[in-house]
């Protein structure tokens, strides 16, 4: 089954995302910010990355840009967790190489629907 990297500085959101995806049969690795995520992405190949935008140390958009520069992540789905009003952030994310976004707040069903959309 596919392995997903879930990145969010909020422990409760990370846990919810992780629990939801694992319940659906995905394997999940958590990271607490962009630096942690980049370190893990270099150590292991993920099939999808879901990242919050506003995080300390390295934000989600910077993370997406760095991931796209890695050979293993040139075509991998990279999804942003963003608020509905963050149209600017969506645009910045796209310019950085984001595949799409999951709108906050979201429930487990919406999360799974979006992940299944990209993972097939």
């Amino acid at each position: 089954m596919a392995t997903i990297l879930a990145v969010d500085d909020s422990a409760s959101i990370r846990q919810m995302v992780s629990f939801t995806l694992k319940s659906a049969g995905y394997s999940v690795v958590e990271a607490m910010d962009g630096v942690d995520a980049l370190h893990k992405a270099n150590a292991q190949a993920f099939d999808c990355v879901v990242t919050d935008v506003n995080m300390p140390n390295k934000d989600g958009i910077s993370l997406i840009k760095d991931l796209r520069a890695l050979p293993n992540y040139r075509f991998i789905p990279l999804l942003m967790l963003t608020t509905e009003s963050g149209i600017e952030k969506k645009q910045q994310g796209k310019e950085a190489g984001a595949t799409g976004w999951i709108v906050k707040p979201f429930n487990p069903d919406q999360l799974l629907k979006t992940i299944k959309k990209v993972m097939g």
Binding site: D9, S10, A11, S12, I13, Q15, M16, F19, T20, S23, A24, D52, N54, M55, P56, R68, R74, F75, I76, P77, L78, L81, T83, E84, S85, I87, K94, G97, A98, T99, G100, W101, V103, K104, P105, F106, N107, P108, D109, Q110, L112, K117, V118, G120
Partner: protein, 400 residues
């Protein structure tokens, strides 16, 4: 899928209270003369996390309140709003209100909605003071988007389908998007016929396998709102050329003059929605019925508490327990085959056991200890509030 979200609530409350402490500390330490952008960003992130978490877990009153707070902080960090003492005071009041609200929710008691409303009004007043000023100068308020009309049934014409041309740009794959996924999604909306356009396909020797050379002509049958089609292509907007033409059908007419049979004809209307098309609104993915989620918890009668512990201390504890287990195994072996000549080994083993036990005890006490900052962390806020009430400047010195 039914997932019990309540299992994440405790973590959410803990991180929210920490976030509120960080916001309060950040606000108290803001230097009005030289505002630190990173400091405001930190405060903003804390509010943003609380908003995101509360929305996700159904605490609507908190998410709505924090949304306004976040908007104000966003303007401050972008430099669109000056950081003033009055703004800080309002924000500090809001932090208190949020803290009380979260405590009430956590304890399962009624939220003080009056207090929430009052603080929200204060925040709105601050926000609107700037919006009014902007409107007076004739500038467009950020966030406004134009109302625009979607193709609709008109008169006797009814939309019965869509003719879509989808031409991804060459770099589409590099965004992680996959045309097949998009087509698969479209097919869930109705009967879809797909015709690939190979005109731009280069010769094999010139083919770039990492580029998207294909385009598609699609016919989707069904009374599908354009918003649902837009939602599917939302992620690739700007990375493709897309046109959507509604397919109309003439409905039956009740015109008394025409008593002849009415035949249903389909007219692909020559209406290119892409040319001069106003920006489409992003469809709302959120379900408004989220408000029905209960924002109060049933009181369990239990008060849970937790502390944050550095992972280094946990690692040290784990190592020590490991050492203890090894020492215990060694002593067991000595005990099983004890002979008088093993007395020295036994003594050494017991000394090791004593040492490991003492270190373990020290380590556990160290974990339970909290930084002394916890005791004095309320004083700056107390001093700030007293200063505000008395109209006097207060200098607080904490030493030791």
């Amino acid at each position: 899928m039914a997932i019990d979200m309540a299992q994440f609530h405790q973590v959410f409350f803990e991180e929210s209270f920490e976030g509120l402490d960080a916001m309060e500390s950040g606000l108290l330490n803001l230097d009005l003369g030289a505002v630190d952008a990173e400091a405001i960003n930190t405060i903003f992130r804390a509010a943003h996390s609380i908003k995101g978490g509360s929305g996700t877990f159904g605490f609507t009153v908190v998410s709505e309140f924090t949304h306004v707070l976040e908007t104000l902080l966003d303007e401050m960090r972008d430099g669109r709003r000056q950081v003033t003492q009055s703004a800080i005071d309002v924000l500090l009041g809001s932090v208190d209100c949020l803290r009380e609200t979260l405590q009430a929710i956590q304890a399962g008691i009624e939220v003080d909605h009056h207090s929430v409303t009052q603080h929200k009004l204060a925040l709105d007043k601050l926000l609107n003071d700037v919006v009014d000023a902007v409107n007076e100068t004739g500038l467009q308020v950020p966030g406004e988007c134009l109302e625009q009309s979607s193709p609709q049934d008109t008169g006797n014409l009814k939309i019965v389908g869509w003719h879509i041309t989808f031409s991804p740009h060459l770099h589409l794959f590099k965004t992680g998007n996959e045309p097949v996924r998009i087509l698969r999604e479209l097919a869930t909306l109705g009967d879809l016929s797909v015709c690939a356009n190979l005109l731009e396909m280069p010769d094999l020797y010139e083919l770039d396998p990492e580029a998207c050379h294909l385009a598609w002509s699609l016919d989707l049958q069904g009374r599908v709102p354009v918003s649902e089609i837009d939602e599917i292509f939302d992620w690739v907007e700007g990375d493709c050329d897309l046109s959507k033409q509604p397919v109309f059908a003439i409905t039956k007419t009740t015109n008394a003059v025409s008593e002849a049979d009415v035949s249903m004809q389909k007219y692909p209307v020559a209406l290119d929605l892409l040319t001069g098309e106003p920006q489409t609104q992003s469809p709302a993915i959120l379900d408004d019925s989220k408000d029905s989620q209960n924002s109060t918890l049933k009181s369990t009668g239990l008060t849970s508490s937790s502390i944050r512990v550095d992972t280094g201390k946990i690692d040290t504890l784990i190592n020590m327990v490991g050492e203890l287990v090894i020492t215990q195994s060694m002593l067991s072996l000595i005990g099983e085959h004890f002979a008088i000549n093993k007395l020295d080994q036994l003594k050494n083993g017991l000394l090791q056991l004593q040492r490991h036990t003492r270190e373990l005890q020290k380590s556990v006490i160290n974990i339970r200890m909290l930084p002394i900052n916890f005791v004095f962390s309320r004083f700056p806020r107390l001093a700030h509030d007293m200063s505000g009430k008395s109209g006097k400047k207060i200098e607080l010195n904490v030493g030791g």
